[in-house]
């Protein structure tokens, strides 16, 4: 059996990669992809904790169900995020987040 910390280490690496991409990429689509990486790192953690906890046999499916909800949120985020990127591009011909200040509060 692979010990729990190995899954967590991989998830940490994936999350750090996502953070790096989200901070440093110029293209908004690339930033969005990095955010997806971070969400998936979280999902690995959720499922791993669920699997290695004593409760994984009962109906207490917290980790399992949570992952499904994270998937839904990730999908909704991608759909709306990409729609915003497309619209901003159509109006301003730009996919660089720094140049689109119209959404600033």
């Amino acid at each position: 059996m692979v010990p729990l910390w190995m899954y967590l280490a991989v998830a940490a690496a994936l999350f750090s990669l996502g953070v790096f991409g989200a901070l440093s990429r110029r293209n908004a689509v690339a930033v969005l992809m990095s955010v997806e990486l971070m969400l998936n790192a979280v999902n690995i953690n959720l499922v791993a904790f669920w699997r290695y906890s004593e409760t994984s046999t009962d109906l207490l499916l917290n980790g399992y169900a949570f992952t499904a909800f994270v998937l839904i949120v990730a999908a909704a985020e991608a759909a709306v995020g990409l729609a915003i990127i497309i619209t901003v591009y159509r109006n301003r011909r730009s996919v660089i987040p720094e140049e689109a200040a119209a959404l600033k509060g």
Partner: protein, 170 residues
């Protein structure tokens, strides 16, 4: 870690996940970036199988490779101004340092045995099935509220995205 199907799978999926992740943050071509993202998420689906959650693995592939990959590709093609962006990165060094520091802190965290109630070496032998998930999702003591909220969220996302993306001039 002895050599068996699980450990081989773990190594393979680690290569997929992290290799794909590195591809996503380094490639210049956004379409190739999408493919790298899918490689990475395929690796994550593999982890789900190793962690006895095959349903989540199938859903991961269905949602990400079947739908989000297509959506990102469409968006990439619709916003083609890659030629305008000269540099791939902004604030490269600070973000590299920040993410590296984050990784080291997280690594320190996960290697310390601080999880009460969790046996980190051995997982329980049996796990809940997909049918249990279905029952729990709509159980009044289970997840029925988030279940319906998820549906509201999806409806809202779809209406919002259509409202934003619709081209009224056409």
């Amino acid at each position: 870690m002895e050599l068996n199907a699980i450990s081989i799978g773990f190594v393979v999926f680690t290569i997929f996940t992290l290799g794909g992740g590195i591809g996503v943050v380094t490639t210049r071509n956004l379409f190739q970036g999408t493919i790298w993202l899918m490689v990475s998420l395929f690796g994550v689906a593999g982890y789900f199988v190793l962690l006895s959650a095959p349903f989540l693995a199938a859903v991961q592939i269905l949602v990400y490779i079947g739908a989000i990959a297509i959506l990102i590709t469409f968006a990439v093609m619709l916003t083609r101004s890659v030629t305008r962006i000269k540099t791939r990165y902004i604030r490269l060094v600070p973000s590299l340092l920040a993410s590296l520091a984050l990784f080291l802190i997280l690594l320190l965290g996960v290697t310390m045995p601080i999880f009460g109630g969790v046996s980190p070496e051995h997982a329980p032998a049996t796990v809940a099935s997909t049918r249990d998930l279905g029952a729990a999702l709509v159980d009044e003591n289970g997840y029925v509220v988030p279940f319906l909220l998820a549906s509201v969220l999806l409806t809202g996302a779809m209406i919002g995205a259509i409202f934003i993306a619709r081209d009224d001039t056409a």
